[in-house]
Subunit: 191 residues, 2 copies
Amino acid sequence: MTLKHAILGLLNYEPMTGYDLKKTIDISINHFWPAVQSQIYTTLAKMEKEGWVTMETIPQESLPPRKVYSLTPTGRAEFVDWLTTPQPYGETRVAWLVQVFFAGQLDDQKALLLLHNLKSVFRQRLEGYASIPEDNRDSLRNDPPRDKFFWMLTVDFGVAQTISQIQWIDKVIHTVESREYILPTLAGDRS
Amino acid sequence: MTLKHAILGLLNYEPMTGYDLKKTIDISINHFWPAVQSQIYTTLAKMEKEGWVTMETIPQESLPPRKVYSLTPTGRAEFVDWLTTPQPYGETRVAWLVQVFFAGQLDDQKALLLLHNLKSVFRQRLEGYASIPEDNRDSLRNDPPRDKFFWMLTVDFGVAQTISQIQWIDKVIHTVESREYILPTLAGDRS
DNA sequence: AAATTCATGTAATAAGTTACATGATTCC
DNA sequence: GGAATCATGTAACTTATTACATGAATTT
C-alpha cells in the first residue's frame, strides 16, 4: 500500500486534478493515510508513466490549466488487484506508543505529563470525529448510499478506536498515579 | 519520530550492537515500529556522525568483530528531549483501513471476503499477543518492575485495540451480510 | 546435509517531508 | 489591504525497503 493505490481508488469515483485530490484526501482518508501536496503531484506523474492514468489539460482564463487525471483500464485492474489482496498487517508505525514504551525511563511526574498530554490529544481527536458528518454532508450528497456506508465505516472505526484508547490510558494513568507497578493482566476486565 | 529515537531509547537501557538491536526490536517495539536489519546499521552510522552514540570494536575469534554502540551525553539529552515532546498524532498510516474505505467499489461478495480476511488477521494477532509474555520472560527477567510495567503496557494496549477491532468488524460484517446499508450512528451502542 | 545463529555491511530504489516558487482572483 | 482559494510545480532531503554479499560455528 502506498499513496498510488489511494489515488487509484479516488480517481475510480471520478476524474480529478492533483488539486482536487489533495482536498478530497484531506476530508476522507487523511486520518489513516495523509498526503502532502507535493507528493500527490509527483505520484501522479509516476502513475502516468506507468500507464495507470491519463491526463487531459483543460485551459482556463487567468488561471493555470487544470490537469485532469482519469484511470486507464490498466489502472483500474491494478486497483481491483490491490483491493482484493490482503495487506501486510503490523507495519503500522505509531510514534506515541514508542514514547509510552520508553516512558519508564522518565520519573513519575514526567511520565504522567506524557500520559495526560496523550489523553488530551485522544479527546481532541474524538471531538474532531463528531464534526466529520457535517463537514462531509455536502461532498457526500450525491454519492450512492453504499459508497457512503463504507466511507462512514472508517469514521465509525476511528471513533471506536479512540474511545478504546481513552479507556486504556485512563487505566494507565490511574495505575501510575497510585504507583501500582504490577504487570497488567492481559485477559483483564475489559468488558 | 524515527528509528533513531527508538534506538536511543534501547541503547539507554544498555550498550548494544546492531545485531542485538535487531533482535531486541523484533521482540519489543516491532508491533508499532518495525525495522529491517539494513536500516539499523545505516542509522547507527548516521547517529555516530551526529555524535549521539560512540562505537567500540570488540574483536572475536572466527567471527566478525562486535561493534558495541553506547549513548553519549548528547544522545541521552536528545532522547529525553524527544521523549518529553508530544508527537504529531494522526500521521499513522493504516493500509487495511484504506482498503475498507474503498471496499464499496467491490460487489458484496468480494467486500465480504475482504472483511472476513481482515477479521482472521485480527484474530491471529490477538493470539500472537497471548504468547508474548512467555516469549519475553527470559529477556525481561532482570529488568526493574517499573521498566517491565511500561513495556507490558504497550502489549496491553495492543490487546485492547485488537479486541475493539474485532468487535467493530463483526458489526460491519453483520451489516453488509444483512444488506443494511444505513449510515452507522456515531454515538451508537458501543458499550 | 541443511538450516539456523552470529555478525557485519553496501547499493539501488521507493516513499514521504520540507521548503521554495508563481500569479490571478475573490472574500473578509 | 490582507488572507484565502485556485492551480501548477521543482529540489533537496530523510526515511524505509529490497536485494545482495560474506563466512565460521552450531544445531537439527
